[in-house]
């Protein structure tokens, strides 16, 4: 704040100077014209200045301007926030009509907020817009990837290079422990849409609603922020065809370091005589391709945009990858003199993926490096499949795992949305929207009779079950119905926009699966009915169906006083079936205000200086239905003996019901500053927020007795967090043949579990996780305590070795102990101190170059690979991990300690693109042609010894346990893409 005030007084000083340096010009020429945006609409407020002279003005509401300039003026500059400043040479013309192109920073002046749009300058809460130009490039298969590192406060990570893996998206650290730690996604108005139902190629812009006042209009599901996705739409005019294509080569960038065959044998490992690099055996240069064809245009009140995307992606692990076709149609029809607007959005996609097995990289690290891949020796061809296998826990030939077993999914997504908006009278519009979304996943697994692999996946081996097959299908279906009424009016100098709405959404999830073994031949395993298990009662059949509903009333009032002062008031009252009878409804209000100081004082350096403050409340739902109800289910594995060989299904409670379960509430205060200076060459945003999430919904340990089960979903406590976000863009050089734009964002946050509810014993912890199987299921590695930041990595402090090679740990009293359980304490923090992204774009002639650097600083990771295997004593079964921390003197069983917790700060070159725009004759059929090369993950700077130092924001869904690098993480990869964009 201090800095801001200083800057302000400096500006006032400059302003005073201007007042004294008046100049009068007697004679000049009059220039008029109109400034429009790419859609043809006039832009109000564009600064028009004569070069080298004190003459200028701004455009009016229709975008027109008129000014008189001295005769000697040779050019005019047009500048406006969010658009590239243009310079137009003055010769003899008296009319200049120009179109401003949006600058990289903002596609348009318009920001999409919940249930409507606002001009950027009217926005009074923390909202960031990212346009298609700013998206990450290259082999981007997931929408989250587009935004990675682009928005201050929005953390996106996907450790490892699994092409079928999902991204963790966290806004401002952690907002909630409820169902939605990931932001709510709204696609073209469809609330709660699946982020993966839209192809990255089809997106025009993404708006991120960061603070509670912006998100409050979405009430219940806005706690983790909102991503509003706007897809590309057609504009009136002749059809435009564009074709984009890219091919990508992806290679592993780093494997987990381990003993070579020689080192393994020297350490006492059994030598089978070969020298196998297991990681090489299971990985490859993955080749992927993407094709996007789109068609758009419009006439007679109809506009359309249709596109088809095809993706064929390979993963770096052999046999992994997916193919996807995604088709989208956006159709708009205007009628009744444009008073009635129909909108139709259709998306259909089908993705067939080979999921492969994440354990393969673990096994490649720990499998005996002297073993051959294949063998006919019955001592090691244990399952008769011709692969070398050994009988150790959690251990299998990784090549066999990937080659023999099939784990595939076919995901079909269908989104249908229709809306009609009618303008009843001037400024009063009524909108009806109906949309539905269907997600269907058809899963198939085939484990042949010769497959030895048994761990984790389905918990069976094909060999042990004489072949095993699984088929299952899951369907999620939701329907949304909304009405909104908006009214725009003006009272003298005050513009008012009012919105009232009703929303109803239903969710239905159902599915079934069959798993059965014992086949005569693997070939017919797709006919699961031939499995003998079905006849002898050993098959597994599951089936489920559950549902929930949301209903909400909402309203918003926007006030704009002469584009100087802005106030927004929002409220949403929302009810959910998922809470206790008396707690179903929640109220989520918000208020925000902004003041454009540059409109109050004509501050020379600043063309925009807006301060804003907001407060809002959002809510969070529990992750599943029925938690407040006492219900009975049958346990299919436990039937009751009813005598004479007969059995009875037993019904009993499936949870500790919590009839008092209520909304988790997040209250957030945000103050921000938006500014533009140096003729809009530099724009920036600064935010500070402070928030409290109370009545956290968490599955917390409860005493048995009196409870039936040892966990209950309860409202357990309060999470407090605060943080700073800063984003800056600067058009450093803007010449006709060369330009350089640079921008960056910086965010820092810390999240504290500030209180736990009274029925949880003082000093106790929640959210603990364990190191895992095999053998370390009870070894706790993280905890969350009341009064502490979340992300505590917890364990014994390593203090060296004794003379016999046994581990020594801090005993908490100044001495050492061999017992790792004597004293456990904080040994790391899983969340970063700050994160930043830095992007640079250069244009020189027909060439453009962009590179993007991303960084997270200050987080630690539990390197579980090292915690399990960095110890030569494991060679009796496993190959040992060997990093710079490896100590050959260890002669002890492996024990987790601070030795295995590492600083994982990193800076990486996330993305770099070099493009060339071909100069084409205007008469030719091809209107534009661009070719580019792109590299992703080109280099990392980190001290972390594991494969990927990315932040782990949660651990298998446990948001209280960040900071655990699991062995199931895929290897990190880097990729190179060659692409063309053609416009017709």
């Amino acid at each position: 704040m201090n800095i801001t005030l200083k800057r302000l007084s400096f500006c006032i000083f400059l302003f005073s100077l201007f007042l004294f340096s008046t100049s009068i010009f007697a004679q000049g020429k009059r220039i008029t014209g109109k400034v429009t945006d790419p859609a043809g609409a006039g832009i109000q407020g564009v600064s028009v200045k004569a070069k080298n002279a004190n003459a200028g003005g701004t455009t009016d509401e229709t975008g027109t301007f008129a000014l008189t300039v001295p005769q000697n003026v040779t050019s005019l500059t047009f500048s406006y926030v969010g658009f590239t400043t243009q310079e137009v040479a003055l010769r003899d013309q008296s009319t200049i009509n120009i179109q401003l192109t949006p600058s990289g920073s903002q596609l348009t002046d318009v920001v999409v907020v919940g249930y409507g749009t606002q001009r950027k300058r009217e926005v009074t809460s923390a909202v960031t817009s990212v346009s298609a130009e700013e998206f990450n490039k290259g082999n981007v298969t997931n929408v989250a990837q587009l935004l990675q590192g682009k928005v201050a406060g929005l953390s996106i990570s996907r450790p490892g290079g699994d092409p079928n893996g999902g991204f963790a998206i966290r806004l401002r650290g952690l907002s909630t422990l409820g169902a939605n730690t990931q932001p709510l996604v709204v696609i073209d108005g469809q609330v709660g849409a699946d982020l993966n139902s839209v192809d990255p190629n089809d997106i025009a812009s993404i708006d991120v609603l960061k603070d509670a006042s912006a998100a409050a209009i979405y009430g219940t599901r806005g706690s983790a922020g909102v991503l509003i996705i706007t897809t590309k739409r057609g504009t009136s005019g002749p059809p435009k065809v564009s074709y984009n294509s890219a091919v990508t080569a992806e290679v592993p960038a780093k494997f987990t370091d381990h003993f070579s065959a020689e080192e393994y044998v020297a350490a006492g490992g059994v030598n089978f005589g070969s020298n196998t690099d297991w990681n090489k055996e299971i990985s490859r240069t993955a080749i992927s391709q993407t094709h996007n064809l789109s068609l758009s245009g419009g006439a007679n009140g109809t506009t359309y945009n249709a596109s088809v995307n095809y993706r064929d992606n390979q993963g770096v692990a052999i046999t992994s990858g997916f193919q996807q076709v995604n088709a989208r149609l956006n159709l708009t029809q205007r009628a009744l003199n444009n008073k009635l607007v129909f909108n139709l959005n259709l998306t259909n996609s089908r993705r067939t993926s080979s999921q492969a097995f994440s354990e393969a990289f673990k096994y490649a690290t720990i499998f005996n490096p002297t073993a051959p891949v294949r063998t006919k020796n019955p001592l090691n061809d244990l399952s008769g499949g011709g692969y070398f296998e050994s009988n150790f826990v959690d251990y299998a030939n990784p090549v066999a795992v990937l080659e023999q077993n099939k784990n595939s999914q076919t995901v079909k997504r269908l989104n249908v949305q229709g809306s009609a908006e009618y303008e009843i009278t001037q400024g009063l519009k009524f909108l009806v929207r109906y949309s539905q979304q269907t997600f269907n996943n058809f899963r198939t697994a085939l484990l042949p009779r010769t497959s030895f692999h048994s761990r984790n996946f389905l918990n069976v081996s094909g060999f042990a079950r004489n072949g095993y097959a699984m088929k299952g299908t899951d369907e999620n279906f939701n329907q949304l119905y909304e009405n909104t009424l908006t009214y725009d009016t003006k009272f003298k100098n005050l513009s008012v926009t009012a919105l009232a709405g009703y929303s109803y959404q239903s969710f239905l999830n159902q599915g079934t699966s069959i798993g059965a073994g014992n086949f005569i031949t693997d070939v017919t395993a797709d006919n699961i009915g031939t499995a003998l298990d079905l006849k002898n009662g050993l098959a597994n059949v599951t089936s489920y169906k559950n549902a929930s509903r949301l209903a909400a009333f909402f309203g918003r009032l926007n006030f704009n006083y002469q584009n100087i002062a802005f106030v927004t008031l929002t409220a949403r009252r929302e009810g959910s079936t998922q809470f206790g009878a008396n707690n179903k409804w929640g109220m989520f209000p918000a208020a925000s205000a902004g003041l454009d100081l540059s409109k109050l004082f004509t501050i020379p350096t600043f063309s925009n200086l807006k301060v804003r403050a907001s407060y809002g409340v959002t809510g969070s739902l529990p992750p599943e239905s029925y938690l407040s109800l006492s219900t009975f289910v049958a346990d299919p594995n436990r039937e009751f003996y009813a005598g004479n060989g007969s059995w009875l299904a037993v019904y009993g409670p499936n949870r500790n019901a919590n009839p008092d379960l209520k909304w988790e509430r997040k209250a957030e205060f945000d103050i921000g500053l938006d500014f533009a200076l140096l003729d809009n060459k530099m724009t920036g945003t600064f935010d500070y927020y402070n928030r409290n999430t109370s009545d956290l919904i968490f599955n917390v340990a409860v005493p048995v007795p009196p409870n039936l089960a040892n966990r209950t979903w309860k409202n357990v406590g309060t999470l407090s967090s605060s943080g700073l976000e800063f984003a800056l863009k600067y058009n450093a050089i803007q010449k006709s043949n060369f330009s350089w734009e640079t921008g960056g964002n910086f965010s820092t946050y810390h999240v504290k579990l500030s209180a736990l509810s009274a029925d949880i014993a003082p000093g106790s912890y929640i959210g603990e996780t364990n190191l895992g199987t095999p053998g370390q299921e009870a070894t706790q590695i993280t905890r969350a305590y009341a009064g502490e930041d979340i992300g505590l990595i917890w364990g014994p402090v390593y203090k060296g070795l004794d003379q016999t090679g046994k581990y020594l740990f801090d005993d908490g009293k100044g001495g050492t102990t061999k017992d790792e359980n004597t004293y456990r304490t904080l040994i790391g923090k899983g969340l970063p101190k700050f994160e930043f992204g830095w992007t640079n774009t250069f244009n020189a002639g027909n060439f453009d170059l962009n590179f993007f650097i991303r960084s997270s600083i200050g987080h630690d990771l539990v390197n579980t690979y090292r915690a399990f295997y960095e110890n030569a004593t494991v060679v009796s079964a496993y190959n040992a991990v060997k990093t710079k921390y490896y100590d050959p003197a260890v002669k002890d069983g492996q024990k987790f300690s601070s030795l295995h917790v590492e600083k994982a700060s990193f800076v990486k070159l996330d993305n770099a693109t070099l493009g060339y725009n071909f100069s084409l004759s205007k008469a030719g059929p091809v209107k534009s042609l661009r070719a580019y090369v792109n590299g992703q993950n080109l280099f990392f700077i980190t001290n972390y010894t594991g494969v990927d130092p990315e932040v782990r924001y949660s651990d298998n869904g446990n948001a209280l346990a960040p900071g655990v690098d699991r062995r199931e993480t895929w290897v990190r990869t880097k990729s190179f893409t060659l692409g063309v964009n053609v416009g017709f």
């Binding site: 006492g268 050994s390 009988n391 150790f392 048994s454 081996s461 042990a464 004489n466 119905y481 009703y502 109803y504 239903s506 073994g517 050993l538 489920y544 169906k545 549902a547 929930s548 509903r549 209903a551 009810g575 079936t577 998922q578 239905s625 029925y626 407040s628 109800l629 006492s630 219900t631 009975f632 346990d635 436990r638 009751f640 003996y641 005598g643 059995w647 009875l648 019904y651 009993g652 409670p653 340990a701 048995v704 007795p705 009196p706 039936l708 040892n710 029925d759 949880i760 014993a761 003082p762 095999p774 053998g775 299921e777 009870a778 070894t779 706790q780 079964a877 496993y878 069983g893 492996q894």
Partner: protein, 520 residues
């Protein structure tokens, strides 16, 4: 469509959205549903072979779960059971507690539902459920001592500890109040098989009284004898012709079963001894549908109590010896040696099993030989060491859930209980009635020579041979003051606080009224 939706615009009753579960109020609509609900109190017992058995066996001289290199390290909790250094957050300590209180709570819940009904069937169930709950509390007081007494399902305030004496009094009173209302059905009566009947309650009383001195400081030998006599004199039970008959796959209704868990590979899953004890390669011996885990075993010292002619006089013959190779030697051939799987192992076609991953130091090499000898407890017990537990019949094609029923209370146990109570009451281990009861078992089950003299040591050894791995060894060793003494892989305990286990850390964390047991 839109209008239809608007009509239900604010209706948020979740009960209308239930599809795969039923609201409690809508259950209990028929007798069949009632029995199905009561069954839940019993199916909880399918967890009997988990934490409950493990804390009562792995802590004793009968069973060891060694760390075999990368296998079974499990954060050291198996080793801690053996060393009596168990911690409040160890998995088996938690497992036993959770299973037992799930049983208690299940009974409480059903009692709260049944008590208002007042039908003949519900009244019969109430006596049965109260007795079953008392048995769950008997285990709790035996293992954890000062456990919280929770009896009213509607009372959701976390309960404080009760003293061990209070829990003892509660168990005794509940059993005595309800025993007469229970049916006097025999071991193979299908109307009560697997359920608590009159004799089950008597057996529980006998166990309570046998250990009363440990629990309360006051011995109750006469009461123990009386409870045993209710069983013995009923004429409904007898020793099986062969010891093994109690443990074969099709053992339902065996003549010794006072109370058994009717395990079944399809319907009643939870008995996975085959996985706990057999070597991975043993899969081929039995054509198992999953691979075993090579864990639980018996050590030479305990195995020797069967073959050593001094401890166990009887017919001599060739038995697997105690050296690292398991070399055949001469020893007592007790029929109950079938409790163990030792010696060379073969696949189903008689081909010797080989372990491609065998330990280089193991003198048996790759050919698999199970030896009573075990080189160490941790960290690298050889993969083939340890006599494997073969008490319940392993059969061809077995899955990870065995179909053999498991007796919780077995007739032979109460012959021994009566013998012990008499001997202790008279302070004479050579009491002729006691000796006759013991020798009845020795001759019929073991095929070994009757004792002519008996001591507390030889009696405990006999209990061990007969009751091996039936989840009583911990309380037996405590009663005979052997639990804190040194035995294989277990140095003597510094003090006796370890005779009751710590209350799980999760419970102490979640229940502020709960105090940890002394010494933890």
């Amino acid at each position: 469509m839109g209008l239809a939706l608007t009509a239900s615009c604010t209706k948020l009753d979740e009960k209308e959205l239930l599809y795969d579960q039923v609201v409690q109020d809508q259950f209990f609509q028929s007798n069949r549903e009632l029995v199905s609900a009561v069954g839940a109190a019993y199916t909880n017992l399918y967890g009997f072979r988990g934490g409950l058995t493990n804390v009562n066996e792995v802590t004793t001289d009968e069973i060891v779960v060694p760390t075999r290199g990368a296998d079974w390290g499990d954060g050291g909790h198996w080793v801690r059971l053996k060393l009596h250094t168990y911690k409040p957050n160890d998995s088996e300590v938690n497992g036993a507690w959770n299973m037992l209180y799930a049983g208690v709570n299940g009974c409480n819940r059903l009692l709260a539902t049944l008590e208002p009904l007042g039908t003949a069937q519900s009244i019969a169930f109430i006596a049965e459920l109260k007795s079953l709950r008392a048995i769950y509390y008997y285990w709790l007081l035996d293992i954890y001592g000062n456990v919280p007494l929770s009896t009213d399902f509607k009372d959701i305030t976390p309960p404080p500890n009760s003293t061990r004496k209070q829990v003892y009094d509660f168990v005794e009173k509940e059993l005595l109040d309800n025993v007469a209302k229970l049916p006097k059905t025999g071991p193979n009566d299908q109307s009560t098989y697997g359920r608590v009947n009159f004799y089950t309650a008597q057996a529980a009383l006998a166990k309570l009284y046998l250990n009363a001195e440990v629990y309360t400081g006051a011995a109750q030998w006469d009461k123990c004898i009386a409870a045993c006599d209710q069983i013995i004199n009923s004429g409904k039970y007898s020793l099986t012709l062969n010891y093994k008959d109690n443990f074969v796959k099709d053992n339902t209704g065996a003549s010794e079963f006072i109370w058994a868990i009717p395990f079944d590979q399809v319907h009643a899953k939870g008995f996975n001894l085959n996985h706990q004890t057999l070597h991975q390669e043993s899969q081929k011996t039995y054509n198992m549908t999953a691979q075993p885990w090579n864990g639980f075993a018996t050590v030479a010292e305990f195995y020797n109590s069967y073959i050593d002619p001094t401890q166990n006089p009887g017919p001599q013959g060739t038995v697997v010896g105690l050296d690292p190779k398991g070399t055949p030697t001469t020893g007592t051939v007790d029929k109950r040696l079938s409790n163990f799987l030792v010696g060379p192992q073969f696949d189903a076609n008689g081909v010797r099993l080989l372990d491609g991953a065998s330990d280089p130091e193991d003198p048996d090499g790759q050919p698999i030989t199970f030896t009573p000898y075990m080189n160490q407890l941790e960290p690298r017990a050889w993969r083939q060491t340890g006599a494997r537990i073969n008490k319940w019949e392993f059969y061809n094609g077995m899955t990870s859930d065995l179909s053999n029923d498991v007796a919780i209370f077995r007739y032979a146990d109460f012959l021994l209980a009566k013998a012990e109570a008499i001997a202790r009451k008279n302070s004479n281990w050579n009491d002729p009635i006691a000796m006759a009861l013991v020798n009845q078992i020795r001759t019929q089950h073991g095929g070994v020579t009757p004792f002519v003299t008996m001591t507390d040591v030889s009696f405990l050894a006999e209990r061990g041979r007969e009751m091996f791995f039936e989840a009583f060894r911990r309380q037996d060793m405590i009663r005979f003051d052997k639990y804190n003494k040194a035995f294989t892989f277990h140095p003597a305990d510094a003090d006796k606080h370890v005779n009751i286990l710590p209350i799980p850390e999760a419970q102490i964390n979640a229940n502020q009224k709960l105090k940890q047991n002394p010494g933890y």
